[in-house]
């Protein structure tokens, strides 16, 4: 990468390029070495935090006199539950736990930048993985509902001429899902790095609130919202 300009710009672009790379933290020394990326390690940290939190939060639950902690937890869970229930309806109830897990994971992954971690969703491989999981679930939902014949028939709907478009959709949906998440997170990451480069002190804080927290949650919301809409469409 060579950019002509002042030493300042050269410095900036090289710093930025360094930040954009997906670093390998360590290599597992089997089968000729399996590289473990930073996003995987941050995902492990998020998993550990979520597991510990879910162990702590469900202790001492009671029906008679619920504590404040339990009330908060119930409010949050029933909010998510109702949100997905509204979209999916009674038949799609079985997909709600997966969607809730995904929204909690993506939400925390997107705001990981606030705590000094690199957001795992900045790595295209992570978002591709999430999108592939989504499309597999969507197609499975259609298959489960309609059976093999009905599933194949659903590609011919509403008219048989739509067949190529319906098949293309299998590829387009996950691409658009993963690119949207990746692009948003990477975009806010780049903007935050530029701001930190210009003024490392106070200036990034309000922008961090918008780009990291607000945009991160919106994108998590949009990802599961679209996934559940597609599932709803598949099981209709």
């Amino acid at each position: 990468m060579s950019i002509k300009g002042g030493s300042e710009t050269g410095n900036l672009s090289s710093t930025l390029m360094e930040e954009l790379e997906n670093k390998t933290v360590f290599t597992i020394p089997v089968f000729g070495g399996i590289p473990v990326a930073e996003s995987v390690v941050v995902t492990w940290v998020i998993m550990a935090v979520l597991v510990v939190l879910s162990l702590i939060l469900v202790r001492n639950l009671s029906v008679e006199n619920p504590s404040r902690k339990q009330l908060l937890l119930e409010t949050g869970i029933s909010f998510l539950q109702n949100f997905f229930q509204d979209i999916l309806g009674e038949e799609g109830k079985r997909y709600i736990p997966y969607l809730m897990t995904t929204v909690i994971y993506i939400g925390i992954a997107n705001i990981a930048g606030v705590f000094g971690f690199t957001p795992p969703t900045k790595d295209l491989n992570v978002t591709i993985g999430l999108a592939v999981m989504s499309i597999v679930l969507i197609e499975y939902a259609g298959f489960h509902k309609r059976g093999a014949k009905g599933f194949l028939k659903s590609f011919m709907e509403p008219v048989p001429i739509m067949l190529p478009i319906n098949i293309l959709e299998i590829a387009i949906r996950p691409t658009s899902l993963c690119m949207r998440l990746f692009g948003n997170v990477l975009g806010s990451f780049v903007v935050m790095k530029l701001l930190e480069f210009i003024c490392p002190a106070v200036l990034p804080i309000p922008f961090s609130l918008y780009f990291d927290v607000f945009d991160g949650f919106i994108q998590a919301y949009v990802f599961v919202f679209l996934t559940s809409l597609f599932i709803k469409e598949a099981i209709e």
């Binding site: 060579s2 950019i3 390029m17 949207r180 975009g187 919202f225």
Partner: protein, 74 residues
């Protein structure tokens, strides 16, 4: 060559225009709708958020392509 790459990336960034106009129109209509029917605010803002996310996607694609141009060609 470097300046051509920069121009190419800048053209890819023009996708932002469409997203900006789209989100602007969607928001103005949503505000109008809420002014007419304040009780339907929840439903309207849900639809608005989805529409904004879909409109924004084009701008994001432009950004990703601009970045790819810089990284792959640069």
């Amino acid at each position: 060559m470097t300046s051509l790459i920069a121009i190419g990336a800048a053209i890819a960034a023009l996708t932002g225009i469409g997203a900006g106009i789209g989100i602007g129109i969607a928001t103005s209509k949503a505000v109008e709708a809420i002014a007419r029917q304040p009780e339907a605010e929840g439903k309207i803002s849900k639809a608005l958020l989805l529409g904004c996310a879909l409109a924004e996607a084009t701008a994001i694609y432009g950004f990703v392509i601009g970045l790819l141009i810089i990284i792959v060609l640069g």
